[in-house]
Symmetry: C2
Subunit: 195 residues, 2 copies
Amino acid sequence: MTTARRDTYTPETLLSVAVRVFNERGYDGTSMEHLSKAAGISKSSIYHHVSGKEELLKRAVSRALDGLFAILDEEHARVGRPADRLEHVVRRMVEMLIAELPYVTLLLRVRGNTETERWALDRRRDFDHRVAELLKAAAADGEVRGDVEVRLATRLVFGMINSIVEWYRPDVRGASDREVAEAVVRLVFSGLRHA
Amino acid sequence: MTTARRDTYTPETLLSVAVRVFNERGYDGTSMEHLSKAAGISKSSIYHHVSGKEELLKRAVSRALDGLFAILDEEHARVGRPADRLEHVVRRMVEMLIAELPYVTLLLRVRGNTETERWALDRRRDFDHRVAELLKAAAADGEVRGDVEVRLATRLVFGMINSIVEWYRPDVRGASDREVAEAVVRLVFSGLRHA
DNA sequence: AGAGTAACCGAACGATCGGTCGGTTCAAGG
DNA sequence: CCTTGAACCGACCGATCGTTCGGTTACTCT
């Protein structure tokens, strides 16, 4: 068993700094010089901990994707009426988004310029399809409205949920993750009109 | 009156090419070399038409912002019951988003790295506030539900609308702009449950 | 105290960045 | 036919990109 030798960086602690800067400046807009300033170590020292810029990206988006897929394995997402399972997934997605905010933020901004980015986009598509099937099942059972196409509705609901990364900030005293999740569930299922 | 001397580029036609590449690779991920390849002219020739990379960005986001603000000046957005005015703005935002898709897409992705980007973010905030006030008025009149905070609801509705740029493609035979707008209005006001 | 090594650094690499410059091509107007 | 100027080009600029390398520091273990 190896313990930390001194108060220093690990790939994980370095990652948290990198992800913060990536989200502030964009991945392409962030240079290794920016990262070294933010981390307080020299540019070359970063390569002692990670293989390069792209490994940091891969570690970050992997963490976000693992969190999302884990939701689909939860019991409430697997058993029960489709509409209830959908509600559970929507609620947990919001909570996961907020819990792993910087990592999911980075994931949602990937454009596909590198191999790592294309891999992330593929896994995202897989996840989207899994949720779309849930909505489809709920529609087939007549538990949600059928006058809006399933694919279209899925994309719009995803859009609402994913947009949280654009404005949610944990530091300022606003709504908690549970409160945001509750608001999303209400709007997704009942809309703005009185319930 | 000056007519086009030969079949050549103008700042506007060059802009449409640049915006397409910006959206594919991201603004920071796009080099002038990328633009010159896509436009079919040399890198230095681009500078004959525009002052540089940032002017292309500014022209693009200006066009998107002008389109959005024009919606607020339309009669149906100024007179009538707040909830009806809100519905009109939501519907027109979707149509505008789709009509000016590449320009709005670029606008929604600026991060604030340059002066132009920060200016765009400021104008976006202004627009958001104007719509938030509309929702607030509708809530005060009891026309929409009050159990979800106005600021939160505004952000979520914006999130749903803005997410359209992430998946809508005019070439493939999918929903038309009117159909998407109708779907958004239904989900925003009534949600997934049966109306 | 001395060996071993994780952590770190400054300097420099070739490549590419956004942008400049002097000069060439080519169509319109007199 | 000749001048004019918009359109365009290849070559190049200093700066910065992600990354590498040789060497130094500082901590742990014996």
